[in-house]
């Protein structure tokens, strides 16, 4: 792979230790250069690099940092390492193998944001990875890279690793802040945005692991050089997590703009059993699905958005032709039903009813009309929720109904016949007592 930046030394033994990371050029001139630049110049550099958030929304990293107010109030940098979007596992790889890259990125990110306190919010399930991070943070403190007057500059940074306890919604930035404050992880109403009022009411910059880990590289090669990688509006490389029915599931670093076919058939070796693709999620389970006709799309933010989906967290889930779309849809809906925080009605009820209707389809109790009801429930969720978790179910479910309607209808019909046949068989069976039971 020619485009390795973040993954360049990833399999180097011991890269998670300070010594090896330093040997490979970490915490060196780039960090010194960054910390000696005026804060505004660093922000401008980030804006010019075109680096977009890698956590889901794809917002310009530099712009977000520029929203941080000046002034002497306590400001915070929070790294979003919740990584709970189904199909996503790239941050895990970075944090386990190269934790110091993240820490270096956070030192620079905090400087750009004017923050002196930083937290890494890591999902509780990643206990092994959090231990590695804890060790790396301790090493960095010992080496004077964290704490007061980093490398003899005026910049100081306190960094702590905070472990969550299992809740997808805590990846949403405002829910994450509440959770970090020791509360239930319910999203907050926006505005105010975290850059104005975030953690402990202070201005807070929140970025994904991969976004922050990229900062040293942007600075190292220069914004203009970095912006040459990838395509317009989607600069740089991206870590993608490919899973599902591919021959080689895993994390890959690609130059943005590579075609999806090259990813799935090239990097990942094609589909298990050499079957065809039925559908694929381009950016985690929250992204509207695409089909095999979309495989030649370029994998970048704008192209996927134009195709009605999104790049999201960069998690590609591939589903082969032999898998029923109804099963995939039900799995997905159940996940969002479980993870809905329950704060707003369209999401809490919508996810519940979608699951109920899909279960009805599976058990043969549904009619094709239910499909329309289900589609309309998705429409009622979209755009009507406090955070985008509701949309995150409604969009992929809606896209599956829209793109695979004939399959849903055939399934409904088949399941209905099956259940009718079972009912008749039970009626015909002699001395079957639980007739009443089977009707309720």
């Amino acid at each position: 792979m020619s485009s390795a930046i973040l993954f360049k030394d990833i399999d180097q033994p011991g890269l998670n230790t300070l010594a090896v990371y330093r040997e490979r050029g970490g915490y060196g001139d780039v960090l010194r250069k960054g910390l000696s630049m005026p804060r505004e110049a660093l922000v401008t550099e980030l804006v010019n690099s075109g680096l977009r958030g890698r956590g889901g929304a794809g917002f310009s990293m530099g712009k977000k940092a520029s929203f941080m107010p000046k002034g002497t109030m306590d400001k915070y940098l929070v790294c979003n390492a919740d990584e709970s979007e189904p199909g996503t596992f790239k941050d895990r790889e970075l944090m386990t193998k190269s934790p110091h890259m993240l820490i270096e990125g956070m030192i620079l990110g905090a400087y750009a944001a004017g923050a002196t306190r930083a937290f890494i919010y890591i999902r509780g399930e990643y206990a092994q990875m959090a231990d590695i991070l804890d060790d790396a943070v301790a090493e960095a403190y010992d080496a004077g890279l964290l704490g007061n007057n980093i490398l003899g500059t005026d910049h100081s940074l306190e960094l702590a690793v905070h472990r969550g306890a299992g809740a997808y919604i805590c990846g949403e930035e405002t829910a994450l802040l509440d959770s970090l404050e020791g509360k239930r992880g319910n999203p907050r109403l926006k505005p105010p945005f975290p850059a104005n009022q975030g953690l402990y009411q202070g201005p807070t910059l929140i970025n994904n692991v991969e976004t922050l880990a990229t900062i040293p590289h942007v600075l190292g090669m220069g914004a203009d050089e970095y912006a040459k990688i990838g395509v317009e509006n989607s600069t740089g490389t991206k870590l993608i997590s490919v899973s599902g029915h591919v021959k080689r599931p895993g994390n890959y670093e690609i130059e943005l703009g590579m075609s999806a076919r090259d990813i799935i058939y090239g990097l990942c070796g094609g589909i298990e059993g050499d079957l065809e693709v039925k559908l694929w999620f381009p950016g985690g389970s929250s992204s509207p699905v695409l089909t095999k006709d979309d495989l030649d799309l370029a994998y970048d933010f704008d192209t996927l958005a134009k195709a009605g989906s999104m790049l999201g967290s960069g998690a590609i889930i591939v589903v082969d032709e032999e898998t029923s779309v109804v099963d995939v849809c039900l799995k997905l809906a159940k996940f969002y039903k479980h993870e809905s925080c329950g704060k707003c009605t369209p999401c809490r009820e919508g996810t519940q009813w979608t699951v109920k209707m899909l279960e009805r389809i599976k058990s043969g109790q549904a009619t094709p009309m239910d499909l329309d009801i289900m589609a309309s429930v998705q429409e009622q969720i979209t755009g009507h929720c406090l955070c985008v978790l509701g949309d995150a179910m409604a969009m992929p479910v809606g896209s599956m109904i829209a793109k695979f309607r004939p399959e849903f209808e055939a399934y409904i019909e088949e399941a209905r016949q099956r259940s009718d046949a079972e009912l008749i068989a039970s009626l015909d069976a002699p001395n079957e007592a639980p007739l009443v039971g089977s009707l309720v």
Partner: protein, 232 residues
């Protein structure tokens, strides 16, 4: 609140008599009360005539020294000590196996929060157990990517192998962020995968024996970059 153990104890080896707090920690046996619980009266109905519990009084609430030290260390990491709620509950849970009323009370006492607040927090998060569970966490991921690779059968197989062993906490879990090793399982926080159906007896035996679980399949040993991956 009845502190008596169930009269008819069918299982051999269960302790009898009254229990003192924290006695089971570290020992192999887990004491059980009525309904298989580890805390007396955990499922008693709420007494509505009583006021909600207030912040426990340190002079009457005994908190083990090491637990107190751990919680205080967490509190010291944050500008606002309340932020330590989750790590503190986790620490208490590690000691008590689940968030027992005692565990909650101890955290509440050190953090100066009400038990009710902490129960509300614990109830929100999947990894904080508010009901009695076994000590070995076996989280079988059954989300999309894993289920495309056989996670549902794996879950059934794991449940079958473990049976009703009360020392296990088997759950099907949402995506654990390791779909590259699908179907995968998190065994007491150690990620293993891909787990074949044939691996299950070995895995369960290893957990029971306290050995390392499927060492060759642990994610920590996996290389990041697949040497066969070449773009066309």
């Amino acid at each position: 609140m009845s502190r008596e153990l169930e009269e008819e104890v069918g299982t051999a080896g269960l302790p009898t008599g009254d229990l003192t707090l924290g006695q089971h920690v570290g020992s192999g046996e887990v004491p059980r009360y009525r309904g298989g619980s580890r805390t007396p009266g955990w499922d008693d109905a709420v007494d509505l005539t009583k006021d909600p519990a207030t912040i426990p009084d340190p002079s009457t609430c005994h908190v083990p020294e090491d637990l107190r030290a751990e919680i205080e260390a967490h509190m010291a990491k944050y500008p606002d000590t309340r932020s330590a709620a989750i790590p503190a509950l986790m620490a208490a849970q590690k000691r008590h196996v689940w968030c027992t009323p005692e565990a909650i009370e101890q955290v509440a006492c050190v953090m100066r929060l009400t038990p009710g607040y902490l129960v509300a927090v614990a109830g929100f998060y999947d990894m904080l157990e508010t009901r009695p569970v076994g000590r070995h966490k076996v989280y079988v991921c059954t989300n999309i990517s894993c289920s495309l690779r056989g996670a549902d059968d794996l879950m059934d197989r794991v449940v079958e192998e473990i049976g009703d062993d009360p020392d296990f906490n088997v759950r099907s879990f949402e995506c654990l962020g390791a779909c590259d090793i699908a179907p995968m399982i998190s065994v007491d926080d150690v990620y293993v995968g891909p787990v074949a159906l044939e691996d299950v007896p070995t895995m369960v035996a290893q957990i029971r024996a306290g050995d390392e679980v499927l060492p060759e399949q642990q994610i920590i040993r996996r290389k990041s970059v697949d040497p066969n991956a070449v773009s066309t």
